[in-house]
Amino acid sequence: MSEMWLNMGPQHPMTHGLWNLRVKIDGEMILDCDPEMGYLHRGIEKISEDRHYNEVITLMDRCCYVAGLAWEHLYILAAEQALHVTPPERADYIRAMCDEFQRIASHLMWYAAFVQDLGLMSPFLYGMRDRDLVLDLFQSFTGARMTYEYQRVGGVRSDLPAGFTDRARKVLDWLDERYVEYDRLCLGSTIFRERCDDLGKLTARDCIATGVTGPMLRSAGLKRDLRKDRPYSIYKQLDFDVAVADAADVTARYLVRMEEMRQSSRMLRQILDWLDHHPGPVLADRLPRWLGAPYAPQGREGYLLKRNYPKGLGFSSVEEPHGEAQAYVVNEGGEHPYRVKFRSPVFANISAARHYLVGYHVADIPPIMGSVDVCVGEVDR
């Protein structure tokens, strides 16, 4: 077989979304690759400009559909900075709890997809099964499985239901047992190690040059985690370790993600204990009135003149399950943000594809791209 270009996507089992990986192959070897994005470009940044600040949250859930709450948190942090609003402490804790549960749910989804790429059939079902338990928790306080619309500028929509923390602890206990089982299914398998060791190498140097963040970066031995380095929200109060591996290959990324789930469990137990003992308001009481009621402006406040709004710039950065996500919100007065710009970690991780794909086999593409954990929604936005 001579050299040829192979289109993997947009409809392809490997992609886990809607994108196209064009690879140039010689036999089974990859010579070059060119990811083609944009099949899911929904213009979220543009639509946000026509929306009320709290309405953008709806789009955030759909922006990264496996980590909706983390993206809500990201946007809320930037919007609060731009609007000069401070949330109550309990809301911050609840948001951090959402983040960590979302990290577990997202990593379970990643686990399911990743092992399926390797041809392991049953762990896919196990991952999805355990993810459903976390989604049940979300459902108990947001009412939705995936698109929550839970956080608000200035806090969260509602407090946790009674008995939530106990249920959450039960789920954590169950999950802690499952991690052992997952490891036995994957790391215990010789075929898994044979396939994943020394695969998809991306050294720390390349990671920094190409802007790769998140578990991929930490798997290269760089101990960088925004929760430690630039503690937003309440992460300063939590006791946890940053999961690091140094092999920079697919196995290392697997190890990092599994360890992150364990660390999330550890953090969650601390947060749940705090939540048990600190009841309080979850929404700031000194909110501008127009923030509370987008569709039913009460009195004249809803039609405030533009000059009466506070102006500001908001920038936030959050350690999302896939990596570092950033939001840049420009508030020029008015009920709508003037410009919203998001930085997706997967965007950078995919753009580095040439570094970790070239030189491997066609059969290696699914596990490597699986270890990148692609979520196309946030790449294309």
């Binding site: 993997m8 490997m14 059939m121 079902l125 196990y126 075929i191 396939r195």
Partner: protein, 376 residues
């Protein structure tokens, strides 16, 4: 059951039918109808029809068995709403595929595109004419039935490659290439493992091999050969961990990407036919065929059709093992697959041949008992 084989049953049936039919006609027609050649032809047809029906129904039930078992391994239930416990699910699938539009991509090669799946299906079916299922279900004592079965079994890569090539799709082509490479690489250890069995039993005839296992089954003393044979069979059947040719993650559906409708159903059926053949061969060569160990009460071994029932139970159990492997192992890569094949499997299979030779010299093993003396 003695010498009454399936073929002799068909023969009797045909002669009864034609004699009865001929008796109502006057002489010349009666003479034509009771012609032994005609009876033989009809017997072959009946025999073929029974074989076809039995193998098809078994295959479809096998697919059901796999789906249910896989569902249980995955913590779910599998098909359960069509028929009792989803037993009719695969019949529905088959009928639906029959109903689908048959078509071929414009740029593909029409001869190869249509001939490939048909030939694949036919060659997989033919093997059933050779395999003995019980002492009664036997097409007649072919002295080299084992070799013949394996020879027909190894036709498959050719037809897979033809159909993959002619469907003019890059994924199909890569799947076809992988399939050909893999099947050829695993033919050798497979045959060497069979040689071990042949050395011990002293025969290429499957029925004789089973007869030799009256005292003890070969899976114990020839365990190494069994492992090699099962691994090679997994590769030949293209099941996980060796299902690279249809590796869904990278090659969309492998070599049957461009096939839909009934041609796709042919591929599916032939795949499972081969899986059935593989399980049957494992049972015949290593698990004592239709014989039962001595501790089983005689009531369980002597009821009518006991041989067939025991045989099918064993076959489905072996296939259950394959499903278990599929549910719990990841897929290997092409180069690893070939490396395993040439570097590990061939030495192992050679070792198993030598072990078998040593066993023939010793003749008796403390736990397993003695081989029957030659000539019995």
């Amino acid at each position: 059951m003695g010498g009454a084989t399936l073929f002799s049953v068909s023969d009797t049936l045909a002669s009864v039918l034609l004699n009865g039919l001929g008796s109502i006609f006057p002489q010349p027609i009666h003479g034509w109808l009771t012609n032994p050649d005609l009876i033989l032809g009809l017997a072959v047809l009946i025999f073929g029809a029974i074989l076809l029906a039995a193998s098809m129904i078994n295959t479809i039930v096998l697919i059901w068995w796999e789906r249910k078992l896989l569902g249980r391994f995955m913590d779910r239930r599998g098909a359960m709403h069509v028929g009792y416990a989803g037993l009719l699910q695969n019949f529905a699938d088959g009928l639906k595929l029959f109903r689908k539009n048959t078509f071929r991509p414009r740029e593909s090669d029409s001869l190869g595109f249509y001939a490939g799946p048909v030939a694949y299906m036919v060659t997989s079916l033919i093997i059933f004419g050779i395999l003995p299922i019980s002492s009664g279900w036997n097409s007649g004592a072919l002295p080299l039935s084992l070799l013949l079965a394996l020879a027909i079994f190894s036709f498959a890569p050719l037809f897979i490659f033809v159909s993959a090539w002619s469907s003019n799709n890059k994924y199909s082509l890569m799947g076809g290439m992988r399939s050909a490479a893999q099947m050829i690489a695993y033919e050798v250890p497979l045959l060497l493992a069979v040689v071990a069995v042949v050395v011990v039993s002293g025969s290429f005839d499957l029925a004789t091999i089973v007869q030799e296992q009256q005292n003890y089954w070969f899976w114990g003393p020839l365990f190494l050969a069994l492992v090699v044979f099962v691994a090679g069979m997994l590769a030949e059947m293209e099941r996980i961990p060796f299902d690279l040719p249809e590796a869904e993650a990278e090659l969309v559906e492998g070599w049957n990407t461009e096939y839909g409708g009934m041609l796709f159903a042919f591929f599916m059926l032939a795949d499972y036919l081969r899986a059935l053949v593989g399980s049957i061969l494992v049972v015949l060569l290593f698990l004592g065929g239709w014989t039962m160990p001595g501790w089983v009460p005689s009531a369980a071994t002597s009821f009518p059709l006991a041989g067939i029932v025991w045989f099918m139970v064993k076959t489905y159990a072996v296939f259950g093992l394959f499903v278990w492997i599929r549910a719990s192992l990841p897929r290997v890569r092409t180069d690893q697959l070939l490396r395993i094949g040439w570097n590990r499997m061939i030495p192992l299979s050679l070792a198993s041949v030598f072990l078998a030779a040593a066993l023939v010299l010793v003749r008796c093993l403390p736990v397993f008992g003695c081989l029957p003396s030659p000539g019995v």
